[in-house]
């Protein structure tokens, strides 16, 4: 009986410390979880390169399936590149100098269409041309409006 009454105060003193410890740990876990969530939401921007070496006028576009494609000029060629599992695969749209970026769009079948300004060294202006690709074969469709 006496020993029982002596034991009760010990039990009462242990319960608050348990709550405090658990509450502290819960607070730590909540903070860690918040940090994890914040990290998960945080966005890191990375620069990728479609081609090593000098290439100017880059233009990026996605097709209907969400795949990534680019156009850019290298020396005297206009290049089309697609991002595949093996990296960037290039094809030549046309050989000749271009002026400025070459906008890219896709039709419902996923065929790329590109318009571009041909460089005319004698003038500041230059004609606008248009090319499209079927089955990775590029065809220049002439100058826009020149008919």
């Amino acid at each position: 009986m006496v020993s029982s009454q002596q034991g009760r105060p010990e039990a009462k003193s242990k319960r608050p410390s348990t709550i405090v410890v658990l509450a502290s740990l819960a607070l730590v876990v909540v903070l860690v979880s918040t940090a994890v969530i914040y990290a998960a939401m945080d966005v890191e921007w990375k620069v990728g390169r479609a081609r090593d070496g000098d290439a100017s006028w880059p233009y990026v576009a996605g097709d209907g399936s969400g795949s990534l494609h680019m156009t850019y000029a290298v020396d005297d060629s206009l290049i089309y590149a697609s991002l595949t599992e093996d990296g960037w695969e290039e094809s030549v749209i046309m050989t000749g100098l271009v002026r400025g970026a070459s906008p890219l769009a896709f039709d419902g079948n996923g065929n790329p269409h590109v318009c571009y300004q041909l460089e005319d060294p004698d003038y500041e202006s230059g004609p606008m041309a248009y090319s499209l690709s079927h089955a990775n074969h590029w065809r220049r469709m002439g100058l826009v409006g020149d008919q």
Binding site: S33, V36, V43, G48, R51, Y72, G126, P127, A129, V144
Partner: protein, 280 residues
Amino acid sequence: MISDISYQDSESIAVDDDGTVHVGFVSLGSVIYANDRDGYWEVTLLVEHPDAPDDILMGVSGATSVAVDGLGNPHVAVGYNRGYIGVFSDEGSGWTEHALFNWDLTYDSVSLSANADGTLRVAYYGYPLSSPSLKGLMMGTRSMDVWQVEPVASMSSSPNEFTCALTADQDDNPQIAWREFGQDREGICVSRQGEGAWCTTTVVGSDGLIQYHCGLLSVCLDAHGSTFVSVYRGAAEYVTDSVTFLDGISSVWPRAVVAYAGGLLLWVATVLVARWALNK
């Protein structure tokens, strides 16, 4: 030759669901729209230059931006340096202009998008007449024949050169990539709208950016919803966002669920360890 482009980087292209190609460009100060019907270009003069043909600074000077809405109607936006943006639409009864007035359209880069229901969005630099203090990147939305303009990102000083590109994610939340070269700062930023609020992030700083041969800025999203923006630093580059942790889970809510589940498991494990330690 009507196809002569007198303003570099003025051309734009879109292809509709029927495979018709739509292009826009500025030729000798006039705004031209053309579509390719069965190999034949049908050309429309949207704006004829009002002044001397070579004096592009007095009239239309900007890049065009072509978009096709879900009904197959073509739309063309072009920035005038006389203080407004011209948005032209052919909705079945010929071309009409829906001018978006803007007191200070200093930079002629505009980017247009058209939704499935015909709602138009146009991104540009300037400020609305009613609020001169809101100078910076703006977005106008035209729905039910009415324009609504909202500030996207404010700028304390005007850049020397400004270019923007507009797209939207799968939930139709707009994303605008913009590049500026100025005395105070230069770089490429992406502004995203989610739940009505805009959030702007600098994605490429001034380091290595080259002002020449960079051309139009372009932006797109891949199948996972990641954003890609063209970058020129001497090579054909792009900048894209990726998830720091939980890589491969692209959308926000699955990431949040996984993160919360992880946190809950961690909490349960901690409680069990704490109880075990206290009972020992």
